[in-house]
Assembly symmetry: C2
Homo-oligomer: 335 residues x 2
C-alpha cells in the first residue's frame, strides 16, 4: 500500500510545526493563517482525512454500528430495514456485525467502540448481558442501545419486547379454537429468547388452567433442521392437537415432519410460529405467527440512539414493544 501524506509531510509542506498540524487536525484553537497553510498543504498533498483524524476533528465518524447474532435471521433483517433509513436520513452510515451470538465477538465490538470507529452502537446480545458485557456497557465510550433483555439498572438505553404476552396471545388463540393439548418446540434454554419463552409457555398454560406436561415440550435449536428433529422426538411420545414453536424456522421444520407423518395442519395439529417473518407467508399452509415487533424494535432503537447522539440525553430509557398475533391458515384453515 502506498504511504499517503502524514502529519509530518503536511507539516514540512506547510512550513509549520508538527504540533501545529496536530492542533489543526484536532480542531483546537490555532492562528488563522496556520490553519490556512495546513489546509492548503493537506490539499496539495492529496491528503484524505482518515476516520480518526476526522473523528478527532469533529468528534464524529458519522457511522453507527449494529451488532446482531445472525444476519440470516429474518428478525434482524426486519430490524436493519428500519434502522438503516432512520440513520441515513440523519446522515449516519450503518455498518453491521454478525456475531454468531458469540459473547467474545460481542464484547470485541463493545471494546472497539473505544477506538472511535463508530459514533454509536445498537447491539442485540443473543445470550443476554454477561459480566463482560456489563463492564463495557457501564463505561461505554459511545452511546449504546441494547435490543433485548438487560439486567435492572444497566446504564444504557434498552428496547425490549414482551415475549411473555406474545406466547399468551398464541395460547389463548389455540385455546379459543378448542385445542387443549398444546405442545411447545423451543430453542436453547441458555439463550435469552429460549429462557423467556419457556417461562412464558408455563405461565400461559397456568393462566388457561391447563397442566404443564413435560412430554409436550421439546428443546432443539432455532433452525429448521433442529426444529424438525425436535418435532420428531415430540411426536414419538405424544400427539398434541396444537404446537407452538419458538420461531418460524422451527415451525417450518415441524411442518416438514407433520407433512411426512400425514398429519393435517390445522385439522389434526394446529401450528403457530414466532417472529412473524417472511417465511411465515412463504410456507403452505401459511403460518400463524406471533409478531414480536422486530421492525418497530429496530426503529425505536435507532430513534433512541439518534436522540442520544444529538441531544446527549442523561437518563437511560426503556421502551417495550407490544407483540401481535398474525392469524393464518396453519391454525384457522385455508383463507
Amino acid at each position: 500500500m502506498a504511504q499517503g501524506p502524514t502529519i509530518t509531510t503536511i507539516a514540512a509542506r506547510a512550513g509549520v510545526s508538527i504540533a501545529s498540524v496536530s492542533r489543526v487536525l484536532n480542531g483546537l484553537p490555532t492562528r488563522e493563517d496556520t490553519v490556512r497553510k495546513v489546509m492548503a498543504a493537506a490539499d496539495e498533498l492529496g491528503y484524505v482525512p482518515n476516520a480518526v483524524a476526522r473523528s478527532l476533528k469533529s468528534n464524529r465518524t458519522h457511522q453507527v454500528a449494529f451488532a446482531m447474532a445472525d444476519i440470516g435471521n429474518p428478525t434482524y433483517v426486519a430490524m436493519v430495514r428500519e434502522v438503516q433509513p432512520v440513520l441515513k436520513t440523519a446522515g449516519y452510515r450503518l455498518v453491521l456485525h454478525s456475531t454468531g451470538g458469540d459473547v467474545d465477538d460481542e464484547v470485541d465490538v463493545l471494546r472497539r467502540l473505544g477506538e472511535r470507529y463508530a459514533d454509536g452502537l445498537i447491539i442485540s446480545p443473543l445470550r443476554g448481558i454477561t459480566g463482560k458485557h456489563l463492564d463495557l456497557l457501564t463505561a461505554a465510550p459511545a452511546p449504546t442501545v441494547v435490543i433485548g433483555s438487560i439486567p435492572e439498572g444497566t446504564p444504557v438505553d434498552n428496547v425490549r419486547t414482551d415475549s411473555r404476552a406474545g406466547v399468551r396471545l398464541a395460547l389463548e388463540h389455540l385455546y379459543g379454537l378448542g385445542r387443549r393439548s398444546i405442545g411447545f418446540l423451543n430453542g436453547p434454554l441458555d439463550t435469552v429468547p429460549g429462557a423467556a419463552r419457556d417461562a412464558a409457555y408455563a405461565d400461559a398454560l397456568d393462566g388457561l388452567g391447563l397442566p404443564y406436561d413435560p412430554d409436550l415440550v421439546e428443546v432443539g435449536d432455532f433452525y429448521r433442521a433442529e426444529g424438525a428433529e425436535a418435532a420428531r422426538r415430540l411426536l414419538e411420545r405424544s400427539r398434541p392437537d396444537a404446537i407452538l414453536c419458538a420461531n418460524d424456522l422451527i415451525a417450518l421444520g415441524a411442518l416438514d415432519v407433520l407433512r411426512a407423518e400425514r398429519l393435517r395442519v390445522p385439522e389434526d395439529v394446529a401450528l403457530v410460529g414466532m417472529d412473524d417473518t417472511e417465511l411465515a407467508t412463504a410456507a403452505w399452509p401459511t403460518l400463524t405467527s406471533v409478531g414480536l415487533g422486530s421492525a418497530e424494535r429496530g426503529r425505536r432503537a435507532a430513534e433512541l440512539l439518534l436522540d442520544r447522539l444529538d441531544n446527549g440525553v442523561a437518563e437511560p430509557r426503556i421502551v417495550t414493544v407490544e407483540p401481535t398475533l398474525a392469524v393464518r391458515a396453519s391454525t384457522e384453515g385455508a383463507a
Copy 2:
C-alpha cells in the same frame, strides 16, 4: 464524550516532543528510550490505540468490509455465511454494508477505503460497474474483490457466476418435461442480473429451437409482491405451461397468483425459481430452483481477498462458479 488522551497529552506526560510521539505511533525509526517513554506514558494515560493509529503502525485494521445490495436477500446471506468463517480464521473481522444497490452508496464505500477503515473489500454492485466505480476501483487503495460482472480489463479480482448456463439448465429441464410454452418473469433490465437473465432466456429458447414470444415475458422487480403483479399481468394475456422466475422471491409471488387462479403446480404450470435460497424449500410445493453458487462465490471471494492481503498477488484473477439445478416438487410433482 470524554476527551481521551491525545498525542499532545502523551507528549507532555512522556516529556518528549509531539513529533516524537507521532514518530512512535507511526512506527518510524525512533531512539529506543523515546519509544519506551512514549509507550509508558500512553499506558499510564489509558490510551486506546485508535483504528488509524493502529493502521499507521501496523498498516492493518484487521477488518474486511463486504458491501452488498440488500442484507435481506438470502443470496447475500449465503455469501456472508461463507465469507465470515474464512476471514475469521485468518484473523479478520467482517463488517457489512447494505447499500440498497444505490450507486452513490457503493461509491462511498469504495471512497472510504482511502480512509483505511478496512484492509480489504468485497463488493457486489447490483447495477454493475459504472464510470464512478471504475475510477475508484482502478486506484483502489486497498485490495478489492468484485462479485458479479465487471467490464473486461478492470484491474480487480472478480468472482462471477454463469447465469446464462443456469437459465439454460432450467429451460432444458422444462423442455425435457414436455413444456413448450415457457414464460419468464424477470427483474429490472437495468440491473446486472436482470439484463443477464433476459439475454440468457432468449439464448436458451433459441438453443432449444423455441420461438421468443414477447407475450410470455414480463418484467417486474426482484421481490414477492412485484413478482405476483408480474405473474398476474402475464396470465391475463397468455397461458404458459411453465414459468421461469428470475429469483425465488418472484417465484413465491407467482405461486401466490397461480394458487389464487386455481392453476395446479406443476400439473398446469411448472414453476422454476433462481438463486436456490431457503425460501425454495420453505414453499409448498417446494420450488425447483437454479443455484448460482452464492455460497461458493462468497467463499472464493474471501479466498481471493486473503491471498491478496497475505501475498500481494499482482495479476487480477477471474473465478467463474458453475450453476446447478435443484429439482423439486414445483416441476416434478410431490416427492
